[in-house]
């Protein structure tokens, strides 16, 4: 036991770096960004700037929680952008047609869960690769949405519908959603049997089966929960402006996937945390705002984002390679 004591333990700091490496990298990037932008233009911290940025981007963080579950479970979903658009439209339509506000909020969440449960079942039980199913769903949802709305915007929702514009202690509701859901899910993923099962199934489905888990059910569960978070994200998206556009930001699904991956969720499944994906979503928001305060033309936003994504990915690969090299010796 004495030997175990000396060999087995390492410092808490090194363990923190090992288990939350990518999360710390993203956090570091946010801090560096704050320092640089803040020193160039102190107004960056002024007024409600930061609060507004975080609030406007919170729906991406919420969607990325669900996406992280799906990717950790060993799958991917390229249809979430269209799904959010469809669910937002459902919410708006119900609200305009005079249904009680809790119906307008609740139905899209249920629909999101139902659709993604079906997607999960097709993947788990019919054994179609997730990228194929969700590629198909992307077409179906996108086409369905545009043919239904005909490209018109939804307006005239009742005032109580706009949950994303509510404030508590001066802080907009979306930030509460983002923070509370992230913390709850981080705890659940760490401490619940089913949360760990998602890691197990994503890491090694055969071993999961041999451990008495049911990989198919876990997969359906991950997708169903992803549908739930897509529903919440859709509500935040639908209620942040006075109108609901019939289209979502282009490549929204890719933004959400990118947030998960930059946050440290391995695209191969089995590792990552929702804290990372939320931090990454926050980082994206900071970058877009920072460009404005640095007087960079908005048209360069995407190029800068792309470069940053690339840099983060390469840094992550370098870190993992060092990790592997260390493990081998």
């Amino acid at each position: 036991m004495a030997i175990a004591g000396t060999m087995g333990r390492r410092s808490g700091a090194s363990r923190l770096v090992e288990s939350y490496g990518q999360e710390l990298v993203v956090l570091g990037a946010i801090v560096v960004l704050f320092i640089i932008v803040g020193s160039v233009n102190p107004r960056f911290f002024g007024g409600n700037n930061l609060v507004n940025i975080f609030s406007g981007n919170a729906y991406i963080a919420v969607a990325a929680i669900g996406m992280s579950l799906v990717i950790i479970c060993g799958h991917i979903d390229v249809s979430v952008g269209s799904l959010i658009g469809v669910l937002a439209t459902i919410a708006g339509t119900l609200a305009v047609q005079g249904y009680p506000v809790w119906v307008a909020w609740g139905v899209p969440i249920l629909v999101g869960v139902a659709i993604n449960t079906l997607v999960g079942a097709l993947i788990a039980y019919v054994r179609i690769p997730s990228i194929v199913v969700t590629l198909g769903m992307l077409s179906i949802l996108k086409g369905g949405l545009i043919s239904y709305t005909g490209g018109t915007w939804i307006t005239n929702m009742p005032p109580e519908f706009f949950i994303a514009q509510a404030r508590l202690f001066g802080i907009p509701a979306p930030i509460y959603f983002m923070v509370v859901l992230t913390i709850l899910m981080a705890l659940w993923m760490r401490n619940a049997g089913l949360g760990r099962a998602i890691y197990a199934v994503g890491g090694n489905p055969e071993a999961a089966r041999a451990s008495g888990l049911y990989p198919e059910r876990v997969c359906v569960l991950a997708f169903a929960m992803h549908g739930f978070f897509a529903g919440i994200a859709a509500l935040l998206f639908a209620t942040q402006l006075q109108v609901i556009q019939s289209t979502v930001p282009p490549n929204l699904e890719l933004t959400v996937i990118t947030a998960s991956v930059i946050g440290g969720v391995s695209i191969l499944g089995g590792t990552g945390t929702v804290i990372g994906s939320t931090l990454a979503a926050v980082l994206f928001a900071c970058i877009s705002s920072a460009l404005v305060f640095l007087n960079v033309s908005a048209y360069w936003l995407r190029a800068v984002l792309g470069l940053l994504i690339l840099a983060t990915v390469l840094a992550d690969m370098a870190r993992r390679r060092r990790h592997r090299a260390a493990g081998r010796l």
Binding site: A4, G8, A192, G193, A200, S211
Partner: protein, 502 residues
Amino acid sequence: MTPLVELGGISKSFASVRVLQDISFDVRAGEVHALLGENGAGKSTLIKIMGGVHRADAGEMRVNGEVVHFASPRAAAASGIAVVHQELLLFPDLSVAENIFMGHAPRTGWGALDWPKMRARARDLLDRLQSHHIDVDARVGSLSVANRQRVEIARALSQDARVLIMDEPTASLVEEDVQQLLAIVRMLRDKGVGIVYVSHKLPEIFALADRVTVLRDGARVGTAPIGELDERRLVSMMVGRPIDQLFPKQETTIGAPLLELRKLGFGSVVRDVSLTLHAGEILGIAGLIGSGRTELALAIFGITPATTGEILIDGKPVSIDSPQQARDLGIAYVPEDRGVQGLVRSQSIAENISLSVLKSLATGLLIDHRKEEKLARESIAKFGIRARGPRQIVRQLSGGNQQKVVLAKWLATEPRILIMDEPTRGIDVGAKSEIHALMSALAARGLGVLMISSELPEVLGMSDRVLVMKNGTLVAEFDRDKATAEAVGAAMTLANASDEAA
């Protein structure tokens, strides 16, 4: 005494192919019951029925005298039956403690995982296996194969297993780890656990087993106490015919030097290796896993090119930076991991064999399919590959026949230097001796063979000379007549042997 587990009249078919027929088998408390048979004899299926993965079509299974029907591995575990899988079904990204308790972790009052308790119990289980050095918080992916296996055994114990099924547990372990594993198995037996032990390695069976059951073609050939059997008898029960010679080494004349290494090195894992391989010679390299044997082969073959030193072929210095260059210089490498490195298992026999000689099969840039087919047919005949034809998918072949496809692929390049890394790992007795005969015949035709193996009998039985590698460098050399198990084994493990090189 009632057996812990008792199977009677078990039969099982997959898609109208009968895999098991009327098998009876039992395990008693405190015994090691070895299960033997060639690949395809039905051992795996029998294990899977006991472990709750498959259900038998006919027959019954009793646990402690009561009839059971397992619907899932979970049900089998609940009845006290645990399996240590050959391929080690673990989660590389999760911690040791979590691997041990996945699916049955201790919970706190309100249903969350109880991490402190899980870690403490994991520590306790590993200590019981004399594995004090394994950190319960380490990622399993960072552990050695032997340590991963201990994690899997700890996992079985965590479920209070009274029957432990071990499927070829020593297949990828080196001698030192094998001995420690055998000690663990004996300790568990002495505590009253019933152990079903599957292995191809007869010395282990004789060292460990109390009783032996042999399966052949899905039927039980017999069950007997180990004292009533000898090696020859066991082998003939398994293959259905007597095997005259386990290592059919032909006497050959050793020719001129083919391959010379001068102070070859790769990073810190291969250091200052100098050796000469002659035409017609089988040069065996023994050593523990991690001693740098495979890394040496990878450096010679250009997968990870050597960082220091020289390689000479026919006395002329050559540079090898890629497998293509190595191939063009007449070097072939039959790799350690057949499924991952050796074969594209989703492709056909013909496609696999032609992979290393695509250029010579092509007219211009296009592949000549008739030539390809002809090469495959010739190879199937020459190597005795049991297959339906050149278009059969490699995945469907047995391990021995897959290994013959790898060999055929590399001999199609007409190499002069053949490196074989663990040439018979996981291959049954019959196919093993065929591969050995082939190796011997190739050397007799003037090829130089560099053979890396963890099985000491194979190294001693097949090699003209034996080199021993340790900590990345060569520490000893033995001629065929001086290479005894004791001498080579000592050189592999003893600490002082490597000091001179460092």
